[in-house]
Symmetry: C2
Subunit: 231 residues, 2 copies
DNA sequence: GAAACTATCAATCTAAAGATGTAAGACAAA
DNA sequence: TTTGTCTTACATCTTTAGATTGATAGTTTC
């Protein structure tokens, strides 16, 4: 990981020209960071990012022209180790969650003191991830809520435990979108045997068909990582 | 949500008796919180929690007898609005992530200053979630790493965008385990119409059957929250 | 107003899936 | 040794799923 110094290069993206000017002044006067670009357009901003390769981007995520979150994803996809800090007018938990999920390194409210913005840049420039305490709390509430169902599902009685090893193998192949022939081929057994296993799986999981079996498996923690489509 | 005061009732669980005594003294002397119980056993702790209904539990999560995380889950399952703060010797990102995922309201390192422990209790007592800045950073690194694949999948060309509104409805019902008849009944259209839609969905998603369609949908961010089995 | 797209429905056919019963060999536990 | 479970396998039958073609009516778009 690159070492960032206080002279990191910064790109500003904010559709509000006044705000853009304000931030630029703030950073220029109150810090030693180098503003290498400033634009009111997300699309232009992405192009500027490719061109100037800034260390950090301050991005307004409430823009009419283009969704700021989408812009972040595009920047992340460039894989140029550009760290994006979100600027937002809203402390909406869902927004914060989605921003952090797609790789934002910081999230600062526009209403916050300028010193906090500089501090956020300092932290991100030194390789850390920065969220103000208040937003961290909001984030975690949302985070825990979104995982609550999963946690409960994990503690409920899980019919998957009744499956034999072989049945688990078969179910695993089902969760990859295989049909009878595909499973038989991969397990080197006959198609009729697969049918037997699959029928036993249906009985044990109390479902009527393979789609329901797959859904039960995925909703109850069965090999989530392996559940990739094998077309 | 209950309002917590500085006289919140606290239960301590830590397999190290010396540490347990130390924390008890600290809280008694340095704060106005009320320690209603202290034990070196996770199992006893859970029983004490049921009995004394503390507002907050300080729980060591590195115990030999019982996994601290499991103990937290059991306490959360009681659904008694008991807030658990983890005490841990390790700032392992995976541990922090799992603890927060299952509902811990705080995570404090044993090596941290006693003032920070009191502060954490203050925050949690007032209904917030507290993680020290350093651990927050670790948490987010882990968080973003674990979501990276999903984020990439979301930015890839998503065949789901080609679906019409009606086709999305049909796919939604497919991801709930419905067959043709079920979908037809729920959308008040004929079974043959459903077949037409489903076939169009297969074409657009480039899959061969409904199971693969459902898997594609789930793996590409289609209505994850709604993907519950309707048996 | 024509062209393109969408939603609806039907008929027909083939292939696949699912239900049910039976059974043999392997192996482990009682 | 017997009992039970697991894995394998087959036959048979019914139902569902999927492919294909064609058709009508409404909507949107240009």
């Amino acid at each position: 990981m690159r070492e960032f110094k206080r002279n990191s290069r910064i790109l500003l993206i904010d559709d509000n020209a006044d705000h853009l000017r304000g931030i630029k002044e703030l950073i220029t006067l109150e810090s030693s960071y180098n503003v290498v670009g400033a634009t009111t357009s997300a699309n232009i901003g992405i192009n500027l990012a490719k061109k100037y390769r800034p260390d950090i981007i301050l991005m307004d995520i409430n823009m009419p022209e283009k969704d700021g979150l989408q812009a972040i994803q595009e920047i992340e996809k460039l894989d140029m180790d550009i760290r994006v800090i979100c600027l937002s007018g809203y402390d909406d938990a869902d927004l914060i969650f989605r921003a952090m999920k797609i790789g934002a390194k910081g999230y600062v409210l526009k209403t916050m003191a300028s010193a906090q913005l500089i501090y956020a840049i300092d932290e991100v420039a030194s390789g850390k991830i920065y969220l103000p305490t208040a937003l961290t709390s909001r984030f975690f509430e949302y985070f825990q809520r979104s995982f609550k169902d999963e946690a409960n599902a994990a503690t409920e009685e899980n019919l998957l435990t009744y499956l034999t090893a072989r049945e688990e193998e078969v179910l695993d192949l089902l969760t990859q979108g295989n049909n009878y022939k595909g499973i038989a081929g991969k397990l080197f057994i006959s198609e009729t045997t697969v049918k037997t296993h699959v029928n036993n799986i249906f009985q044990k999981l109390q479902v009527n068909d393979r789609t329901q079996a797959v859904l039960y498996a995925l909703n109850n923690g069965f090999a989530k990582r392996r559940a990739k489509l094998a077309v």
